[in-house]
């Protein structure tokens, strides 16, 4: 069990490419942290720096009270689960689990006890004599987790462990990882590009973009109050509707010209990005006035996904397409006019230039 502290950690490749630009995070003991972001945002690099597989250009990584910048991966008291499992292909499952321990000179009896225990927790007891190639994807993933568990490390590091599994198995393993981490109470850092995985697993989310932290917070907090347009569009599916608007004495207007009723919540004159989630838009009876945001749009497409449907609609003067979540029983026809409204607390404003949230 340990805390992890990252202090202004930077990674520069080949002298010029700055993959991670001064990231600082404090991770509490037993916390499940998810690093999430699009590919190339530096999340894997960051994880590999914590693991010690990548050199830290500047800054400091502490595990517990110890600065580990110059310490070998093996001595950092970490265990890592890799995307493609990285099982030793020529060893049986048992030996895959035991090898790391053997290598550390642990007594045979203790190794055996730990391997059996891990196998029991992960329900892989029956496969201990098999080679990895005789296992299914899900089973391999369990073995990879087992290899991490037997070490009883201070920290688990997960590098997109579920992205090679099919959708159904992914959901199942996601729940399992969460349960396991709760049971063991081990500090965990988990990297993924899947925002759903990130939301469901994390105690706290770290949203990364181009080597910078965009936002750190509990999943629901990040969802409710995204710190920037990047977070707003990355977290949540479908993504938040983002509209370029201008504010003047007459109120809010789309940059294309359509006026927006309501919602002008004392903003200075100028250009902004307005954000509203598909699920926060409601269909109103008519052009509403008063509180909140009010939009008038034309339906393009209705997309049923089962439990709900999504309406893709656009403004009369063109402009951006917006998405609205409606009930699965809604029957909106293409070309139909809709009036939408959103409560003021669900309308977000961002600076048009920096993309930062404005409260």
């Amino acid at each position: 069990m340990a805390t992890i502290t990252l202090d202004k950690v930077r990674k520069v490749y080949a002298g010029t490419m700055e993959a991670v630009k001064g990231v600082s995070i404090d991770i509490a003991d037993g916390e499940f942290i998810v690093l999430v972001g699009p590919s190339g945002c530096g999340k894997s690099t960051l994880l590999r720096m914590i693991a010690g597989l990548e050199e830290i250009t500047t800054g400091e990584v502490k595990i517990g009270e110890r600065v580990v910048n110059k310490i070998d991966p093996a001595d950092r008291d970490i265990a890592m689960v890799f995307q493609n499992y990285a099982l030793y292909p020529h060893m049986t499952v048992y030996n895959n689990l035991a090898y790391g321990l053997k290598n550390r000179g642990m007594p045979k009896a203790e190794i055996d006890k730990r391997v059996k225990e891990a196998a029991r927790i992960l329900e892989i007891d029956d496969y201990l004599d098999r080679k990895p190639r005789a296992l299914s994807g899900g089973q391999r993933q369990r073995v990879a987790m087992g290899r991490a568990i037997v070490r009883e490390p201070a920290t688990f590091l997960f590098d997109e462990p579920l992205s090679n599994l099919d959708a159904k198995l992914r959901v199942q393993m996601r729940v399992e990882i969460k349960r396991l981490q709760r049971e063991l109470g081990t500090t965990s850092v988990y990297v993924t590009h899947d925002q759903l995985e990130a939301m469901t697993l994390a105690d706290r989310l770290v949203v990364l973009n181009k080597g910078n932290i965009e936002q750190i917070g509990a999943p629901i907090e990040v969802y409710d109050r995204p710190a920037s347009t990047f977070v707003a569009s990355f977290i949540g599916s479908p993504a938040m509707n983002l509209l370029d608007v201008t504010s003047d004495d007459a109120g809010l207007k789309l940059v294309t010209g359509t006026g927006l009723a309501g919602a002008a919540s004392g903003l200075d004159r100028g250009r902004y990005t307005l954000g509203v989630r598909p699920e926060h838009l409601e269909i109103a009876d008519g052009a509403a006035s008063g509180e909140g945001l009010s939009l008038e749009v034309t339906v393009n497409v209705l997309e049923p996904v089962g439990a709900e449907s999504f309406v893709y609609a656009s403004f009369a003067d063109g402009g951006p397409q917006i998405v609205v979540r409606v009930s699965s029983h809604a029957r909106h026809q293409p070309g139909e006019k809709l009036y939408l409204k959103a409560m003021p607390q669900n309308v977000h404003f961002f600076d048009a230039d920096t993309g930062k949230r404005i409260d």
Binding site: A86, Y88, P89
Partner: protein, 279 residues
């Protein structure tokens, strides 16, 4: 694999071509072995006939066993081939691992420099090598041959093995690092077993030229004590008279060990050649 439809005509044609090729390739070997069991007269009378009751003779083998220290030549060849292969595989694999695994200044240049040796035949440097061996006092030792063959085999070995090692997943090596394995353990315990087919390929490619080589044994180690099998067989080929029985018998014997080693490596070899091409 596409097993869907196979036109029997195509299958037949493909096999016919392969069979013809096999016959052509094996014909010289067949002639050598058949004639090694015949009397000298029979060899010249009907070179293609099988040994019969009147033409059968072991005289060639008897000559070989009597004359010259054939067992010693055999042993020399074996030592040189096995030791050279061992060093080629060991150093080749290690160099390939370094080139494919570590990022360091001049990595690509080093790789190109090593690959250059594939294109330049080592025999061009024979004079220099001989001078070097004379100066270091290695002439007429097996070590001289082993060193030269190792140098000769390394470029191709590094080239082939580094390609294969690049395919070994980084995650696997990193998993090993986190499990506390040293770089040597990662190399010997994780990476080498995975590139075993490639190692077998390199071994076979190198084994046959080394075993058959006449050039360097003749120049670097022609003394009685260090003759290899190929060189030793030359005693039966005179300027005016050639003892064909003995030559053919010696060659037949020389085929055996290569055949045995090839059978050992061949299963791995096929996997080595096709891996990567077929998933």
């Amino acid at each position: 694999m596409n097993k869907a439809r196979r036109n029997p005509v195509n299958v037949f044609a493909a096999h016919a071509v392969l069979i013809v090729y096999t016959l052509i390739a094996l014909f010289p070997v067949f002639v050598i072995i058949v004639n090694s069991f015949k009397t000298r007269k029979a060899i010249f009378r009907e070179p293609l006939a099988l040994p019969g009751s009147d033409s059968f003779s072991m005289i060639g083998y008897q000559t070989v066993m009597k004359q010259g220290d054939f067992v010693l030549y055999f042993q020399n060849s074996m030592i040189v081939t096995v030791a050279s292969l061992f060093f080629i595989l060991l150093f080749g694999a290690m160099a390939a691992f370094a080139l494919s695994e570590y990022r360091f200044r001049g990595n690509t240049l080093m790789g190109l420099y090593l690959a250059l040796g594939i294109m330049i035949p080592i025999r061009i440097g024979t004079v220099a090598i001989l001078e070097l061996m004379v100066q270091t006092g290695l002439v007429n030792t097996l070590l001289a041959l082993i060193l030269v063959y190792t140098a000769q085999g390394l470029p191709l070995a590094v080239f082939i093995l580094s390609e294969f090692m690049r395919q070994v997943s980084d995650d696997l090596k990193n998993a090993g690092r986190i499990d506390g394995l040293s770089e040597y353990t990662i190399f010997f315990r994780l990476v080498l077993p995975l590139v075993r087919p490639a190692m077998a390929t390199v071994a076979v490619f190198n084994m046959i030229p080394i075993w058959n080589d006449l050039w360097f044994p003749l120049i670097l180690a022609p003394s009685e004590g260090t003759k290899t099998l190929t060189l030793g067989s030359q005693v039966f080929i005179g300027q005016f008279v050639t003892d064909w029985n003995a030559v053919l018998s010696a060659l037949s014997l020389a085929i055996l060990p290569v055949l045995v080693l090839y059978v050992i490596f061949s299963r791995q070899l096929i996997r080595g050649i096709t891996s990567g091409a077929v998933k």
